[in-house]
């Protein structure tokens, strides 16, 4: 199954999803494709005004362009997701969207989609880390 991860660029969540037999939907490949798109001249990510307009599907024009742009980019992934894992309170090194407001609406949109969803808090010690991995394993194992 296709599993969207939050933060969408988390290498650890990516690895866990792949390790337990599912397809992680992360931004790494997507961003790579955008960065390599030599036909568009909007460095560094090649996000265009048209991309930002696509974000209007999720948030009104009054919502800042950075949020709409992020949503437009992530939507390529979460629109095809069968399940989601959300990690809250993660430090920057774990993965980061860079915008708290985007996190708010992204997580809300994911919750509204009615797909299997696992919400986790970032583990603060070894024991919590092991529990987190077990939770992820149990969740992914239960996905049919």
């Amino acid at each position: 199954m296709k599993v969207f991860i939050v933060p969408p660029n988390s290498l650890i969540l990516f690895d866990l999803v792949e390790r337990f037999g599912h397809e992680p939907l992360s931004t790494m490949q997507l961003i790579q494709e955008m960065v390599d798109n030599l036909e568009i001249d909007s460095p560094p990510l090649n996000v265009t005004p048209d991309d930002v307009k696509r974000g209007l599907k999720y948030a009104g024009i009054e919502v800042p362009s950075g949020i709409r742009g992020r949503l437009a980019v992530w939507s390529e992934l979460f629109e095809q997701a069968d399940a989601t894992i959300i990690m809250e309170d993660a430090p920057y090194a774990f993965g980061c969207v860079g915008c708290h407001r985007t996190n708010l609406i992204l997580n809300y949109l994911l919750r509204q989609r009615g797909m299997p969803l696992l919400e986790l808090r970032y583990p603060l010690d070894d024991e919590e880390a092991m529990t987190m991995v077990l939770q992820v394993k149990g969740f992914l194992g239960g996905l049919k």
Binding site: D50, K53, R54, L56, K57, A59, G60, I61, E62, V63, P64, I67, H100, R101, L104, I105, N107, Y108, R111, Q112
Partner: protein, 408 residues
Amino acid sequence: MIKIAELSCGTEYSGVQGEIEAAASTVGGKMVYPDIEAEDIDNAVEEFGFNPVSPQLRLMIARAIHLVEGHYDADAVFISSCFRCAEGALVRNEIRRYIQLHSRIPVVTYSFTERTKASQLLTRMEALVTIVERKELLARERQVGLTAGIDSGSATTKCVVMRDNEIIGKFWTPTGAVIDTAEYVFNEACKEAGIKTSQLEAVGVTGYGRFTIGKKMNAKLIQEELTVNSKGAVWLADRQKGDATIIDIGGMDNKAITVHDGIPDNFTMGGICAGASGRFLEIVSKRLKVDITELGQLADRGDYRKVKMNSYCSVFGIQDLVTTLAEGKTMEDVAAAACHSVAEQVYEQQLQEIDVRQPVIQVGGTSLISGMVTAIKDVLGYEPIVPPHSQYIGAVGGALLSSGFLEG
């Protein structure tokens, strides 16, 4: 007295709370504030699934849930937050969706600035009260019997005659003397329909001249254009269920209305400068020496990117036009730039206040100009629906809603 529950953030500190209450009271409403226990707020936020940082936005969410679950009695909801607050805009919109999904309580939303005055809120409040008082009438999706609708607009007056959910006659003309023009289009539409005016079972009237015409013609329905136009647009586009955005660029002004199940919940209206209306395109047509009906096809053959045009002011816009023509740019590119300029202004000015929901239904006189439809598509990034008879939304809405009086 219509009880309007206020779910808002920042109204007191923006100095607009008094204006909101004044607007409500003018249209026979009263603002009320759902009571919430402090300890219930966090649970409500968790249940809702959107976790804003600002406490007053959290209170808004708790109040919304309280209303939907029936713990507080209100006839309508007014959701409001400060203009340009991202967190507020996100919460405002998700609360609006939540209430519409889980209840039948009508909602309007608004993002305010410190300059917001009661008069700006009046149409919204009036529409809200209309939606409450005429809930059953507005739920009507089929026209019955033989009825007519007249839309007395600022630039043109339109009339439609309908029988058993079909348009059988229509006519429009530029607005002159309000009553004379209305009677003229009324008679011509009846002539096209092949009926005598005395055969009509009901007449519905909307637009600027609605009170004068309605009284003279003994109309069964005299109603503001926000609710009437919305019904007409979704009927014509066959999008009566779910969300939609209606973009109505008329001869003198423009409106963007968001609707849910054909009932408006927010709108914005422009018209400070003719640059964002059909009037600017008329001036452009004259300068290009083409008929307004040919401007659209001309624009479709051009590329707006080749011409810089600013229609924020129609005078400067025409100056740009003259300069670019003098530089040797083609008529096609100039026509395309003119259409794009109007679309961009509507996008940047009017659509600032609303959340654009798909599908977009483009109506009003300018929707007949194909280049204008292309420009809206370019600016929004998706294709608008242009229903047949798209300039007749108000008249169709009037005919449709007035037929509701025939069935008791």
